[in-house]
Symmetry: C2
Subunit: 241 residues, 2 copies
DNA sequence: CTATGTGAACACTTTCACAGCA
DNA sequence: TGCTGTGAAAGTGTTCACATAG
């Protein structure tokens, strides 16, 4: 349908397939934990075991970023982390706005994996009088009607919808209207947004249903490796949209 | 490594591929919403458009459950919902325990897509004195040390880890010890559990990193269809550990 | 001798295109 | 005529197996 079907530009390095992209953040997390526990060097075998995947897959994934391993030794954890960051584009400024500051929104704001991974909470929005004006973490909650104003000063790249289902579409529309091009939807509602807007879902009931399936068909699985993952500090989410 | 590599048993119907399994809950949600808004019948084209996938994919996915469509008309929404439920195994009793009743745990308990999809909150656990004994939704929070006791009466199938990262592994070990075979981890920590235990991650930072990648490489995408989804009422999660 | 990096084989998914049924 | 259901083709992703480097 559309976009410029031209050569897929890669800032540096090769083109990274979808399947690899969703695994990189996991390797990232594993590496951080290993590094924190004192390991300087990691083998594809170790990474694979912790990520519950095949070692060849780890090597192939990492080789897409460049040849950063040392034969006979493994990978330098710290260096590999920086390379994955670069590949994922998290070594840039990604202002994120969160709309809906209920339990979920608060959990998101305070979640460890948020600021720690280079994402910046540009603003929090809600509409409830008791919530607007409240300080959550280091940020004061603003009324959703201020969204346009904020967007002019500090255009948010990513919008997180953490409202009740009933408000989700309206909020998504507002985010799109101010130029947000990636939406992460935690509300259990199907959203309709323009094709160019990247939309991902994070939904407890969906994840539970997938688990239900595998629990029902435990025998189908070979090696315990299932789908893989999607994640947002909360729960896996589908790319509906 | 292991399991009985025998014939993949399918209660009824054919074997459902992984890729399809993660889409079924989304079709499910779309169908519920369409049904609620008065549609009795749905075409693969409509479903595809709302799910942001190709119509042929929808038809192939649904054909794996059986031939439930009517040529020239489409699918009966209500009937299709029941068939998807059956395929996913959600037409059974799935007791779920949630450990960690902070903002995230509360958001999960109260999330719409929870009870509405046949999952039953068997128990809530925490260790903080101020939280244990509190009533959250219809359930009273118990101390984690009661887990073993609960498991003898009402063995939970699925355990949800919604604790801080520092407690996650310990909680996972406790869940495994009482026989839980599927764990949904919302804590930003890599978990190590036996191979037979199904483990999925739901993690905000991971999801944001995936979005960061696509935001950086917007031009790579053709048609706006990206990964797809994973979900848990909260956010997408990877299948790590 | 260990562990990476990768061509080539294999497996799984998606998409096409159209036959067949309502 | 309209839309499903599905072989067959095309496209992705995974795993093997081994040459290669440290």
């Amino acid at each position: 349908m559309g976009l410029d079907d031209a050569e897929r530009s890669e800032p540096r390095g090769r083109r990274i397939p979808e399947a690899t992209v969703v695994r990189l953040p996991i390797y990232q997390r594993i590496l951080s934990e290993l590094l924190r526990s004192g390991a300087a060097t990691v083998s594809s075998e170790q990474l694979a075991s912790l990520a519950r995947v095949n070692a060849a897959k780890v090597r192939k994934d990492l080789s897409l970023l460049g040849s950063f391993g040392t034969r006979g030794t493994g990978y330098d954890a710290a260096f590999l982390i920086s390379q994955i960051d670069r590949a994922l584009g998290v070594d840039r400024d990604w202002p994120v706005v969160i709309v809906g500051i209920g339990n979920l929104g608060r959990a998101l704001v305070n979640s460890e994996g948020f600021s720690s991974r280079g994402f910046r909470v540009a603003a929090l929005f809600d509409v409830a009088p008791g919530v607007v004006g409240e300080k959550v973490g280091p940020v004061t909650v603003r009324h959703l009607s201020d969204l346009g104003e904020l967007a002019q000063i500090d255009r948010p790249a990513i919008g997180v919808v953490a409202t009740p289902a009933s408000a989700a579409q309206e909020v998504a529309d507002a985010l799109v209207a101010v130029g947000v091009t990636s939406i992460l939807n935690f509300a259990p509602r199907v959203l309709v947004v323009p094709t160019e807007v990247l939309l991902r879902y994070v939904d407890l009931s969906i994840e539970l249903q997938v688990m239900s399936f595998y629990q029902s068909r435990r025998a189908d699985e070979v090696e315990g490796e299932v789908p893989f993952m999607r994640s947002v500090g909360l729960s896996p989410s589908p790319d509906i949209g």
